[in-house]
C-alpha cells in the first residue's frame, strides 16, 4: 500500500486479472502464484501459451519457478539490490523509456544517480544470483512492449517491504510499463475482500476511499454524514494493537473475522496483550484460537448467509447473496455492528445492505456509481467508478498517475532484521499452501482438504537433512530466539540449502511463535518471510 501510494498514488492492482493473458513478459516476484492465486496463475499460463515469457524471482523452486523461462533464486530479502541491478542494466543497455519518463514521471535523476553508484558484481554477491541471469531478466523485461509485474507477500512481508514495492514501481516506470492495458504492476491480495476492507477505511489513517482523517475537508464530510465528531489523528496499526503487551495502549478490543493468535508474529506477545485487556469481544464463524480467549464471543454469519459485496484484487466490487438464513444464533457482521452501536447509544438503522451501499457510494468517491442495482446480474464494477453512468475502470493511471506524475522513489538495500548465525544457522521462510486458507478456521473443517494437506511440513534441503540426520517424515525441533515448535520434515530441493520453509495454517504447529516482530517502518507489516532458526532432530 505505502509503496505504491508514494510512487503511483494508488495502492492496488493497476491491471485487470484477465489482461495478464495478453502480456508479453511477466515478472512474478515474491508470489507463489499457482498455490496462492491459482486464478492469476491460470492467466499467466494462458499468456505463455500465446508465446509470453515468464521471469520468476523466488528463493524457492516453486511450480511457477519450474515453468519459468528465467528463475532467479535470490537470497531472501535481497529483492531491492536485484531490482536495482535490473534497472541499472536497463539503463546501460539503453532500454529505458525516455519519453514516458519525461512525460509521466518525476525524480528520475534521483533514481539514476543511485543506480549509477551500483556495483553489479557486488549485487551478484549479495543476492546469490549470477549476473548473467539478472542481465537476461533485465533485457527480457526491458525489451517487452507489454510487461506485467505480479508481486505478493514475498515482497511486502519484509522490513524493507515498502522499499521493495517502490523498487518494483521504479522498474515499471523506467520502462514505461504502466498506464496501459495489459501492462502494469499487480499486487495480488491475500484474501477475497482485503482490498474492500482497505477501500472502506479499515486502515489507521483514512476514511473510506482513502480520504485521510487528518485532512479537515474529508473529516468534516464524514462528520456531516454521521452527525458525530470524528478523530483527526490516525489510529493504531495492527501490530501496535496486538503487540502492546501488558502496558499496551488498549483496554478493550473488538476483533471480527481475524485470528491473531495464529496469524500474528510472536504469538506469545499477542497472548500477553489479549489476556491483559479489560474486555475482549470476538465475532467469528467458529471458535478460533483468538475467540477462545475472549470475554464474549458473538457467532457471526458466513458468506452464504449474508448479502453484500466483496472487492477483489483487481478492484472489482461484486455482490454476494444470501443463500440460507444465518444458522443458529449467528448474525451477519452488519447486524452485529448495528446492534452494538445501537446499544452504545448511536442508532444505525439501515434497512438493508443496499442502503449501506448507497451511503458508501455517496461518501466514497471511487465507489460513487456502485449501487446494488448496478452490481446485480453482472460480474461487478471496478473502481474508480465515479458516478452511475461510469463503466468502471479496468486499468489504472490512464493519461496520468493518480498522484499526478509517477514519482521515482529510489530504494536502497536494507538487510533483513535477523539473519542466520552460528546459534540459529537456518533461515526460515513462512508462507501458504493451496489446500488451506490462513489460520484454517474454515478449511481445517473440511475432511477432504485435510486429507490433501492436513499437517504442517517443514521443507528442508536434502543436504541439510543429511547433515542433521533427518529424513522425510522425521520430527524436527525448531526454535528461534522467541519460541520453539516441533514439525515434520519434508526433504526437497525446492528450497535452497540453509533455508527452510513452512506454513502458518496449523494451530498444532503455530509457526508464529518463532517469527520476528521486526517490521517495515512505513507499512508496519511484519517480516514473516525471514527469521533465523535452529533445527535438531527430535
Amino acid at each position: 500500500m505505502a509503496g505504491l501510494a508514494t510512487t503511483f498514488g494508488s495502492g492496488a492492482m493497476t491491471n485487470s486479472i484477465n489482461e495478464i493473458e495478453n502480456a508479453q513478459v511477466m515478472l512474478v516476484i515474491g508470489s507463489n502464484t499457482s498455490e496462492a492465486h491459482p486464478q492469476v496463475a491460470r492467466r499467466i499460463f494462458a499468456a505463455m501459451d500465446r508465446g509470453a515469457r515468464l521471469i520468476v524471482v523466488d528463493p524457492r523452486r516453486t511450480l511457477m519457478a519450474k515453468r519459468a523461462d528465467i528463475h532467479l533464486a535470490l537470497r531472501p530479502g535481497t529483492d531491492i539490490p536485484l531490482l536495482n541491478a535490473m534497472m541499472r542494466i536497463i539503463l546501460d543497455d539503453n532500454l529505458a523509456d525516455d519519453l514516458f519518463i519525461e512525460m509521466r514521471t518525476e525524480n528520475f535523476y534521483g533514481l539514476r544517480d543511485m543506480l549509477f553508484r551500483i556495483d553489479l558484481d557486488e549485487t551478484a554477491r549479495i543476492t546469490g544470483v549470477e549476473l548473467a541471469g539478472i542481465r537476461a531478466a533485465a533485457r527480457l523485461y526491458g525489451r517487452a512492449q507489454k510487461a506485467v509485474i505480479c508481486y505478493c507477500l514475498g515482497i511486502t512481508q519484509h522490513v524493507c517491504g515498502t522499499g521493495n514495492v517502490q523498487a518494483i514501481a521504479n522498474l515499471a516506470m523506467l520502462t514505461g510499463n504502466v498506464e496501459k492495458e495489459d501492462t502494469g504492476v499487480d499486487p495480488l491480495r491475500g484474501q477475497n475482500n482485503v482490498q474492500g476492507a482497505c477501500d472502506m477505511g479499515a486502515l489507521p489513517n483514512v476514511f473510506p476511499s482513502y480520504q485521510q482523517v487528518d485532512i479537515d475537508d474529508f473529516r468534516e464530510k464524514f462528520e456531516r454524514a454521521w452527525h458525530v465528531p470524528l478523530p483527526s489523528q490516525p489510529g493504531l496499526t495492527l501490530m501496535e494493537m496486538t503487540h502492546g503487551g501488558k502496558d499496551g495502549p488498549l483496554k478493550a478490543m473488538f476483533i471480527m473475522g481475524e485470528n491473531p493468535m495464529l496469524s500474528d508474529p510472536v504469538i506469545a506477545r499477542v497472548r500477553e496483550t489479549l489476556d491483559n485487556l479489560e474486555f475482549l469481544l470476538v465475532a467469528d464463524i467458529f471458535l478460533t484460537e483468538t475467540a477462545a480467549r475472549a470475554h464474549v464471543v458473538l457467532p457471526a454469519a458466513s458468506f452464504a448467509e449474508k448479502t453484500g459485496t466483496f472487492t477483489n484484487s483487481e478492484r472489482r466490487v461484486q455482490m454476494v447473496r444470501r443463500v440460507i438464513p444465518p444458522l443458529g444464533q449467528s448474525r451477519t457482521d452488519a447486524d452485529i455492528i448495528m446492534e452494538l452501536s445501537g446499544r452504545l447509544g448511536y442508532a444505525m438503522d439501515y434497512e438493508s445492505p443496499a442502503e449501506i451501499m448507497e451511503e458508501i457510494a455517496m461518501l466514497a468517491p471511487i465507489y460513487g456509481g456502485m449501487q446494488h442495482d448496478r452490481l446485480e446480474n453482472s460480474w461487478g464494477l471496478q473502481w474508480p467508478c465515479w458516478d452511475r453512468s461510469h463503466p468502471g475502470t479496468p486499468f489504472l493511471h490512464k493519461y496520468y498517475f493518480t498522484r499526478g506524475k509517477g514519482r521515482f522513489v529510489p530504494a536502497e538495500y536494507k538487510p533483513p532484521d535477523e539473519l542466520p548465525d552460528d546459534d540459529y544457522p537456518f533461515l526460515l521462510i513462512t508462507g501458504r499452501i493451496y489446500h488451506q486458507y490462513h489460520t484454517g478456521t474454515m478449511t481445517r473443517r473440511s475432511a477432504q482438504l485435510c486429507r490433501e494437506a492436513g499437517e504442517a511440513l517443514l521443507q528442508l534441503h536434502p543436504e541439510d537433512g543429511r547433515r542433521l540426520g533427518v529424513r522425510s517424515g522425521d520430527l524436527v525441533r525448531m526454535r528461534s530466539r522467541r519460541g520453539e515448535v516441533q514439525v515434520k520434515a519434508q526433504l526437497t530441493d525446492a528450497v535452497q540449502a540453509g533455508e527452510v520453509y513452512t506454513t502458518f495454517h496449523f494451530s498444532e504447529m503455530p509457526i508464529n511463535l518463532l517469527t520476528s516482530s521486526a517490521r517495515d517502518h512505513f507499512s508496519q507489516c511484519p517480516e514473516y518471510k525471514i527469521c533465523a532458526v535452529h533445527l535438531a532432530k527430535v
Partner: protein, 348 residues
Amino acid sequence: MKDKYILKKDHLLPLLRKLKKKHRLIAPLQNLHGDTLFTEIDQLDNVRLDLANQPQNSLKRFFFPQQEVLFTYRNPTSDSYRFETAAEERPPSLYFGVRPCDLSAVLYMDVVFSKNARDPHYLHRRQNTILVGLNCNAPFANCFCNATRNGPFIDFGFDLQLTDLGDRFLVEFDRSQGQEIIREWQQFFAAADETDVKAQYQAFLEARGRFSQQVHLDLAARRLADDQVPESVWQDLSMRCQDCGGCAYICPTCTCFTIRDRQTGDHEGERIRSWDACTFSGFTRMAGDHNPVDRQMRGIEKRFRHKLQFDMEKDNRPSCVGCGRCVNICFGGTDIVLFIKMTCGENP
C-alpha cells in the same frame, strides 16, 4: 404412427400437474439469479421451467449425493457397537427434461452401482424413478455428445422421450412405466402422423450439424489404447490442473467416492460417504506419504484414461457423455476437450 404420440406444448403444464400428484417432480428450473438447475418442484405455478438452457447440474446428486450418511453407530459400552441405517422415505420420483447426455450418465451409473457389487444406497434412490427425456435440437456451446455417440438424440433408456417440434412434442416410450403414463393420461396424447415423424428426423439432422465443438474422440481413444499420447500432453495439462476437483464433481459419470467416520459424540458417530476425485493427491497417497502419482506430472492422467480407455476396454464405450460441463467449470483449462485435441495433435 405406432408408439409415437403428440403432446401439445400447451398441455405440458397440465400433464405435469397430473403427474405431480403421484410423483416427486424434478425438472430444470431457472432460479432468481438466472441459473438453471435440476430442482425438485414444490409448487408448479411459481416456478420457471427452463427447457432452453443446459441445467448446470446433472442428475448425479439425486441418486448419489455429494455427501451421505451410510450408517450411524453407538458404542455405549466399550465392548458393544450398535449400528443403524437411516432409510429415508422415497416417494416415486419423476425426472423431467433430462437431456440424452444426462440420461446416458444415469444408465452408466446404474452399471457402476449394480454390476459387480450392488450398492443399496444408490439403488434405493434409483428405484421407483421415471425418466422423461428431452432430445437436444440445439446443442450447447461446449457439447460434444455426437463424438461420445449418445446424442443429440437418444432412442433407448428413457421411460418417455420428448422431441421439440415447435408447438408440440413428439413423445416416445421405451419402458413400461412410460407406456403406463400414456395409457393413464391418454387425453393428453394424440397419435403422431407421418409429418410429425419426418419433422423429428429433420430436427435430428439439423441438430447434428449444430455442434460448435469438433473433437475426434475415437482417434484420441485409439491413441490412448496404443499408448501414443505424447508425454508432454500429460505434463502440460497436469501442471495447469488447479486441483479443485470441479471436473469430477460436476461430471455426471464420475462416481469415485471416499468414506470416513465422523464422531458425533462421546459414544457415537457416523460413517460418511462423499464424492472424491482422482485428480486429488490424497486419492492415491499411501502410508508414509508415498504417492505413485506425481501430481504435477501425471495428476490428470487417471481421469482421462478412465473415461476414454479403461471403460472403452470394459464396455466398448467411453464413460464421457459429452455434456461439456467440465469445459465450463475448469479453472485451469485442462478439460477433456483440450485433452482430446492435444492428443490428436491439434493446437488448442
